[in-house]
């Protein structure tokens, strides 16, 4: 019986059909790597790193194959397993030039009963991942923690109420994969595997530091 807590990692997107607010895929790298596959790869690396570092921690992925779930279903995995932390992993893309690491939390004004704790968790994860990428590529940008009404971070779906809100949650956008330099860094370069490992270790360290 695990006693150190429960962490739910949510690899964004998946499958081929859009499901309840979750599109099958968003960003695509210049070499053709899909965001949905990159999120799953990083999530599995984080899972392995967490299990190796803390065997008494329960780590659950919302998906471990190429399937899509609705945003509500993803959050419900945290609710049903009484998770302490929920991290949704994504990669970004825009105009082939924008760069940076950012994290998102649900605004207090949108009924986030866990706003301060969510923001603290998001800042820790975002800073850790930014530092890991910046060590390899100083052209990355620190885009900080922002607020947005995100379906996957809805308190009711995560199992949080005003009276009892055990699950801290945020969404991480690791980098803009439509930028050729980022594609090389994370997918096609000689050190791509090592860089992804370093990002996973950074997320693992942030998660462990967040737990009691």
């Amino acid at each position: 019986m695990a006693t150190k807590g429960t962490v739910v990692i949510d690899p964004g997107h998946g499958g081929t059909a859009n499901m309840g607010g979750s599109d099958a895929n968003h960003a695509v790298s210049p070499s053709g790597v899909l965001e949905k596959n990159m999120t799953l790869n990083i999530a599995k690396l984080v899972e392995d790193a967490l299990k190796a570092a803390e065997p008494d921690l329960t780590v659950i992925l919302t998906r471990s194959t190429d399937t899509n779930l609705t945003l509500e279903q993803r959050a419900n995995v945290a609710r049903d397993n009484h998770a302490d932390l929920f991290l949704s992993i994504h990669f970004n893309g825009f105009n082939g030039a924008a760069r940076g690491v950012e994290a998102w939390v649900r605004p207090k004004a949108e009924g986030n009963v866990n706003f301060d704790d969510d923001k603290s968790f998001a800042e820790r994860v975002q800073k850790a991942v930014f530092a890991a990428i910046n060590a390899r590529d100083p052209n990355t940008k620190d885009r900080g923690v922002k607020e947005m009404k995100l379906g996957v971070l809805t308190d009711a779906n995560l199992g949080n109420t005003a009276a009892h809100h055990p699950c801290r949650a945020c969404l991480l956008e690791i980098e803009f994969i439509d930028v050729p330099a980022v594609d090389q860094l994370l997918n096609t370069g000689a050190n791509a595997t090592a860089v992804c490992d370093e990002i996973a270790v950074a997320i693992k360290d942030a998660i462990l530091a967040e737990l009691p």
Binding site: G21, D23, H26, V28, L150, G151, E173
Partner: protein, 135 residues
């Protein structure tokens, strides 16, 4: 009598010239070529499918004229702006906000000041319309 008739004729001519100039300026604006500022024109080899968030964004960014750009960005927002304000992820919000900024600029270039101002108030980059809360 003849002097006031001349004045009236002159005034009518002046007004007519003004409207002719305005309408030719509007036609000119409608037909003016469009170059996106924040979005980039899609590369034909990596173009995303229409119907997807990325594909529809690229389609709008690839508009030939300001008139076409206004229509396509409006269609993009109709299809992809979240109905209840619930975004899927940062990529989703970035593209919706990017589309609003491109459309706002197009409206101003077309002389549609009120439409441009409506989007400016909605985006509220200085956070002055919502009590200044952190965005």
């Amino acid at each position: 009598m003849s002097r006031s008739f001349s004045r009236l004729t002159f005034l009518a001519l002046l007004i007519s010239c003004f409207f002719t100039a305005c309408s030719s300026e509007s036609r000119h604006a409608l037909e003016a070529s469009y170059t996106p500022v924040l979005a980039s024109r899609p590369d034909a080899s990596t173009r995303a499918l229409r119907g997807t968030l990325k594909g529809d964004f690229e389609w709008a960014a690839d508009s030939a004229s300001l008139q076409e750009a206004a229509s396509r960005w409006e269609q993009f927002l109709k299809a992809h702006e979240p109905r209840y304000g619930e975004y899927g992820d940062g990529f989703h919000k970035l593209h919706v906000d990017g589309a609003k900024l491109e459309l706002m600029r197009v409206y101003y270039l077309l002389g549609r000041i009120n439409d441009g101002d409506r989007i400016l108030r909605q985006i509220d980059p200085l956070a002055v319309n919502n009590g200044g809360r952190y965005k």
